[in-house]
């Protein structure tokens, strides 16, 4: 293994946790680690990262990089990749990382591996495909490779490194995309983050009217709230405020009952922190059964109404 370039991100004025996870990922691959930090007025953060695993840190510090900009990011990371001569470039699979990484790979004429959650020397990268139903091991055929890494897949690096910083000379005059603003999500009408019990429905619920008919009654009987997975919201069956997952609400109830939800990664990210998970799904291979403690392989339209009735009678 040759050298590895870690692309660190600044979030709320500090190096984000996922960037330290990239250092752990690099250590797993084995090889010399250098880094690039992008932002505006970030000399201090770059200095700190050099000592906490980043190694030699290339600093892309420019007012034009205060917010994510695809041309700016691609240019700065390319400059760092060329300066470091890295064989492997690691980015987090975040909105910035997934946006720029393939573009960078094409520019470098390099291979690209998306959303890896594990790796071993070789290098070989492991990632999910088919919405979590299968795993794939992917390897470069010889040249350089750009990899995005799933946030949270590895623990953050907590060791130290002997590093120094070097400011990159950048020409950021030709940026075509123009950042306008970041808008925070509107206040949620349904706050699932405080619910003790959540009963969620997925694509398997099949039709919008089945939510008030089948899912909501169980949630009500248990004194809990109703949630949904992304396909339900995308289809317009329920508003976005019901969505549990990486682009919806991240919930930590005492009990989460997943009905007709296969368990795509983006949903699992939003509910895996639940204390106890029950899954009801007709597909025995659904990934949701891997994360659930208790599972029922069967027809939710048979099980859920019976469960609702049994809960009601247990409550008297």
């Amino acid at each position: 293994m040759g050298s590895i370039l870690v692309v660190a991100e600044i979030q709320k004025g500090a190096i984000r946790e996922a960037s330290y996870e990239l250092v752990s990922f690099a250590k797993k691959l084995g090889g010399d680690v250098s880094s690039v930090v992008l932002g505006s007025g970030i000399a201090g953060e770059a200095e700190a990262f050099a000592k906490r695993g980043g190694g030699k840190v290339y600093v892309a510090d420019d007012p034009a990089l205060a917010n994510y900009n695809v041309d700016g990011w691609a240019g700065a990371i390319r400059a760092a990749a060329d300066a470091s001569g890295a064989d492997v470039v690691l980015l987090s699979n975040t909105p910035s990382g997934w946006d720029v990484a393939p573009r960078l790979a094409a520019g470098l004429d390099a291979g690209f591996v998306s959303d890896a959650f594990d790796a071993r020397p070789g290098p070989v990268f492991v990632r999910r495909v088919f919405n979590g139903k299968l795993d794939a091991e992917v390897a470069p055929t010889g040249g350089k490779v750009v990899v995005t890494v799933q946030p949270g897949a590895l623990a953050a690096f907590e060791g130290t490194s002997e590093g120094a910083t070097e400011k990159l000379a950048l020409d950021l005059s030709g940026l075509r995309a123009k950042f306008v603003e970041t808008r925070v999500a509107e206040a949620k009408g349904v706050d699932l983050t405080k619910a003790e019990i959540i009963v969620s429905g997925g694509r398997g619920v099949g039709a919008p009217e089945k939510f008030p008919e089948v899912i909501q009654p169980l949630a009500a009987a248990l004194g809990g709230a109703m949630g949904a997975s992304r396909p339900v919201v995308d289809a317009g069956w329920l508003p976005h405020e019901y969505q549990v997952g990486s682009s919806g609400q991240v919930v930590t109830p005492k009990l989460y009952i997943a009905c007709g939800i296969s368990g795509a990664i983006q949903h699992l990210v939003g509910m895996k922190g639940a204390n106890y998970i029950i899954a009801i799904n007709k597909d025995p291979d659904a990934p949701i059964f891997e994360i659930a403690q208790l599972g029922v392989v069967g027809d939710l339209f048979e099980i859920v109404p019976k469960l609702t009735a049994a809960v009601k009678s247990a409550k008297g």
Binding site: P102, E290, K315
Partner: protein, 261 residues
């Protein structure tokens, strides 16, 4: 305005997934295929632009074997004007960069003002091709687009960030937009549309015709899947067995045990 929509045909989301003998991909024999869900939203967005301005031309492009004709006919039935089908066994085994090269060659012939496609595919889940294509075309791009608004000089788009936050970005023309699901409500092809689609042209291309002989396909791939397999089963869930009534009684027992009933 000319819009190029790139579509991928993928195994149906409910298709049974069996790993092939080489463990390199799934067995494709006998399973149903459909247009990648993300790409249907891209196509719908293009068709809405055409609805608003009849002078808009919508060209759809896809890569793959004969079965892909079905996906292109569906897109034409929904309202696209014409299609380009890259059909060539020599492109089998291409990685994302190979696919992006083919699409860039198609785009060069089409000359679009904007390229619309899905953020990722339901099979590879890689989100790789759109930014690669934009780089090869030398145009700016945005991914995870959840809103598109035409401005005087180009588009103002909203990108989905984490935790429901949005990033608003202005892009000039030409540009590439990779859209998130839920961007719009996707139409169905009408019977009239399907009939009309039969007369619409599908231009079939090979890698050689696109000037890419030897630059795509398995031999040119920069990355390769070594192995594909069912995720290792952890402890997983305890699966309840028995009649529906027995299962329900066990579930109630567990909920009581958790102190929630």
């Amino acid at each position: 305005m000319k819009i190029l929509v790139c579509l991928k045909q993928v195994p149906h989301q409910d298709a049974r997934l069996d790993v092939n003998a080489e463990s390199s991909w799934i067995k494709e024999d006998g399973i149903k295929f459909e247009i990648n869900s993300y790409d249907t939203f891209a196509l719908e967005e293009a068709l809405r632009a055409k609805d608003a301005d009849a002078s808009t031309e919508v060209v759809v492009a896809s890569i793959g074997p004969e079965r892909v004709t079905q996906a292109l006919r569906t897109a034409l039935g929904m309202g696209a004007d014409r299609a380009v089908h890259v059909k060539d066994a020599a492109v089998d085994g291409s990685d994302a960069l190979g696919i992006a090269r083919l699409l860039a060659a198609v785009a060069k012939e089409v000359g679009p003002d904007v390229v619309l496609m899905g953020l990722m595919s339901d099979d590879s889940n890689a989100s790789a091709v759109p930014p690669m294509l934009a780089e090869l075309m030398g145009i700016p791009h945005a991914t995870a687009v959840v809103k598109v608004e035409k401005t005087g000089a180009g588009f103002r788009v909203e990108r989905e960030l984490e935790g429901g936050a949005l990033e608003v970005v202005d892009l000039p023309l030409p540009c590439l937009l990779a859209v998130q699901t839920g961007l719009n409500q996707v139409r169905y092809a009408s019977l009239k549309g399907i009939m009309a689609a039969k007369k619409k042209p599908i231009d079939v291309k090979t890698a050689e015709a696109l000037g890419l002989a030897g630059q795509v396909g398995a031999g040119a791939a920069k990355v390769r899947i070594q192995k594909i397999y069912q995720p290792p089963k952890g402890e997983g869930a305890e699966i309840l067995t028995g009649s529906a009534d027995e299962v329900v009684s066990k579930l109630v027992g567990k909920i009581k045990e958790l102190g929630l009933l």
